[in-house]
Symmetry: C2
Subunit: 240 residues, 2 copies
């Protein structure tokens, strides 16, 4: 169904705009996305609900299409030159296994979040678990930097302590008592923990560690967390 | 020396503003930077020349300080809430060795550029060489994402073909004839080549390859180039 909208006060436009607020977003279990590429991935994942675009797009009949003026589109977009804005329902993927997991503690940069989820998918991890103070996976920059991985990799918020009995907890941390990352042995079920970009993992998380590991570096304090994640996830995916 | 400036037409302000233009920047062999942290790193590296700030900063006498109004600072800043803008002279580091090198072909994203330079420094590579169509290392986002590595890692523009005789050229590419990255043997002198975020390396570069390597991935087309760089640079730094 296609509707033409020229008023910023149109109820669908107002609803789309309201989803920029994280509380409203969560209550409705929907998120806003941008770009045709991202829209196509939402469609393929079966979560695309409604589209706001400047021209008619070839989409299934059950997707509500709103033809809008550029002024209307700019109101609901975060981009200077928007082409399309869409509403999708929250992604709800259930892990098929819970053997190889990644836990992100207070990751704040959306580019890092999306990149780590993309990396976890590439190395066939089973799920990415987030502390509740991580950036939302529905942040537009997370959606973009994940390159669609967000639609395929089960990602949810949970507490690390729940995995203490079932999984070997491996924490990436630069402390003096950390072992070189490539010298440890892994259990069948493990969870790799990565901490905040500036502050690392918090003390509560550190107490839960079965192994503390580090990637030896020279000349500089640390690696970017996405890069550290890439090295650890690649190495541990191949073990056993 | 400290000067108070309230006019956007002040010659020093106009000069700083002119450095936003890449041609002027190159002619003067100077660049603009922002944030106190970045300024401190430029100072430590001996390239800091002049500072524009809202308040007096504790800096050596040979650094020209300009106390400016917020309006003046905003004129020369890229940030909404600028604290300090500085002029520095181009970084000119000479490699002490040319054994382990990284070559970036048409890397466009400043975050990737800075992150790869930071990673190369962390794993003790000797230099990062750029194709002439890479993003400038003096882009503010490169300076930020490098976390100061730009001041320590020799980085310069050159042609890959010049290294054909002296170095083993290892190209990261997803073609069918690529070998798994961890199965190759390395010469004493080698150069790791990483390509554009969307298009990979160009054909001319591919023709120069002694080895083509890939990092096997599942479920998704490719890794982020910074992540791929991290895995390759870490692995090859340890070989031999």
């Amino acid at each position: 169904m296609i509707k033409a909208i020229t008023s910023k006060d149109n109820p669908r436009v107002k609803f789309a705009y309201s989803l920029k607020d994280s509380k409203t977003r969560k209550e409705n279990k929907m998120f806003l996305g941008e770009t045709k590429k991202s829209m196509d991935m939402a469609l393929e994942a079966g979560v695309l609900l409604e589209v706001f675009a400047l021209e008619w797009l070839s989409l299934p009949d059950n997707i509500q299409q709103n033809l809008v003026s550029i002024d209307v589109l700019k109101k609901i977009s975060n981009n200077v030159n928007p082409e399309v804005v869409f509403i999708a329902k929250d992604i709800d993927l259930k892990p098929t296994k819970m053997e190889k997991l990644v836990y992100l503690d207070h990751i704040q940069d959306p580019g890092n979040m999306g990149t780590i989820i993309r990396t976890a998918l590439a190395f066939n991890y089973d799920a990415v678990i987030l502390s509740k103070d991580c950036v939302s996976i529905y942040n537009e920059k997370v959606l973009n930097s994940s390159k669609g991985a967000i639609y395929k990799m089960p990602t949810f918020i949970d507490e690390l302590i729940k995995y203490k009995k079932s999984h070997q907890i491996i924490v990436s941390t630069l402390g003096k008592d950390s072992e070189p990352f490539d010298s440890i042995s892994l259990n069948r079920n493990f969870i790799i923990v990565l901490g905040n970009e500036a502050h690392g993992v918090n003390d509560e998380v550190l107490k839960l560690a079965d192994k503390k590991v580090k990637i030896p570096v020279q000349n500089i304090d640390s690696l970017n967390v996405s890069v550290a994640a890439g090295i650890l996830l690649n190495t541990y995916a191949k073990v056993k």
